[in-house]
Point group: C2
Chain length 252, copies 2
């Protein structure tokens, strides 16, 4: 191994499978909607339909949390909302910093989903001195120079990286050095972090490419006959974009 690993070793997060953890927010959202409609109880079948999953899977997921249901009746909505919230750590307040206040960073700062559910945008940070002091989402943007102090003063442990790809690793390193242990990365780069730091990636480009793959397949295997094994004189010159994105359009 040359570079540092970016994955946590153990999946045994107190016995709750990672796949289950990833679905808990889904359940929580559906339960919150039910709670707002004052629905007292819900069956695994109903809740599973609302969350878009299999009912057996949902029951198994809940079984990892404990036996919170009543046979013959279902689950108490309020109680389950509380239990899942507690399990996810949403009963406490999580200050979050957003680094890189460009188009995306600003949109994230304004995103309502951040403010709700226990997450609070503690600071907006950008490297551009011209941005410093400018209000975004009712909050002044602060300069990268103060990154360490901001994180320390606010006890921030979750950071969001919305910088260009080139700056992401550097920002990441500083965040980690400052005490951040969870990172949500929007930059199209693989981040290297030490053990104990969690990184989750959101990559719009990758999502689109996956869709394109399936779309191409759906579009018909009519033209899929030719394969590239006899690709004639692979073009050596590619149009290289400054930010590293090449359309890679090749002669067929």
């Amino acid at each position: 191994m040359a570079t540092g690993r970016t994955h946590r070793p153990a999946t045994r997060s107190r016995g709750i499978p990672e796949a289950t953890v990833a679905r808990l927010p889904l359940y929580l959202r559906a339960l919150t909607a039910l709670s707002e409609r004052s629905v007292p109880t819900v069956s695994s079948e109903e809740l599973a339909a609302a969350a878009g999953v299999n009912s057996a899977k949902l029951r198994k997921d809940f079984s990892y949390l404990g036996s919170y249901g009543t046979r013959g009746v279902g689950y108490d909505v309020e109680y389950l909302v509380y239990q899942i919230s507690r399990e996810l750590g949403l009963t406490q307040d999580w200050p979050v910093v957003i680094v890189g206040i460009g188009n995306l960073g600003a949109a994230l700062a304004n995103y309502g989903g951040f403010a709700s559910r226990g997450f609070r945008v503690a600071a907006l940070i950008d490297a551009d001195p011209a941005m410093a002091g400018k209000p975004v989402a009712g909050m002044p943007v602060q300069h990268t120079d103060d990154l360490e102090r901001i994180i320390s003063d606010n006890g921030v442990s979750i950071g969001v990286i919305a910088t260009p790809a080139g700056a992401a690793q550097q920002v990441c390193d500083r965040l980690v050095a400052a005490g951040i242990t969870s990172i949500l990365n929007f930059a199209p780069t693989v981040l290297s972090v030490p053990d104990g730091v969690d990184v989750r990636k959101v990559d719009l480009s990758i999502e689109l490419q996956i869709l394109a793959f399936h779309e191409q397949r759906k579009a018909g295997e009519d033209a899929a006959a030719d394969d590239g094994t006899a690709a004639p004189a692979v073009a050596k010159d590619h149009r290289k974009g400054p930010d590293g994105d090449v359309p890679a359009v090749m002669p067929a």
Copy 2:
């Protein structure tokens, strides 16, 4: 993974596992960077490090595409870029519509990652009449009334939903009815789509909640060894957090 209530059995896409497809864009990005540096060949070990994955996994992934490597040498960078691009369907142009030009939609429209790699923003659509005609990312926003015509005229098959949650399903239905078969959904809702339509979800709130879960776990184990195997204690029943037995917090 692809959401939606329609659990199609993956339809064994030409024998290429879904997990492999999801990693191909990652490889492609790393390869593109190598290509820009005019690196002629790369070993599976090097490329795996650059992409942040295991080298054996990478080799197995590539084996699904064919035998494109040379033993004792490695992979030809240019050739591999072409093969992966072709496999992902990036050798053709994919027109994309973005529906919901709020903060997030506008950021997406401006996002460079969209424009590159064969994706082209064909239209921006919003339900607000006040938005109609306003330029965003150098392109006039069009009204939802023309949604069907826009999709049809441009031959769009990929749609991005960046509307509020309440409007997402309705927009989704119209997109599907208009011929869209792939959807990238940013709205925090479970979308129902008919068979044959792919939906991928990007949910910032869910990502944060997953991070919070791990963060809470890390914070709660400062006293004991962080090895989870030593914590099979059945203290699950009615353990109350430091905040006591409070009813569920109800985020808006």
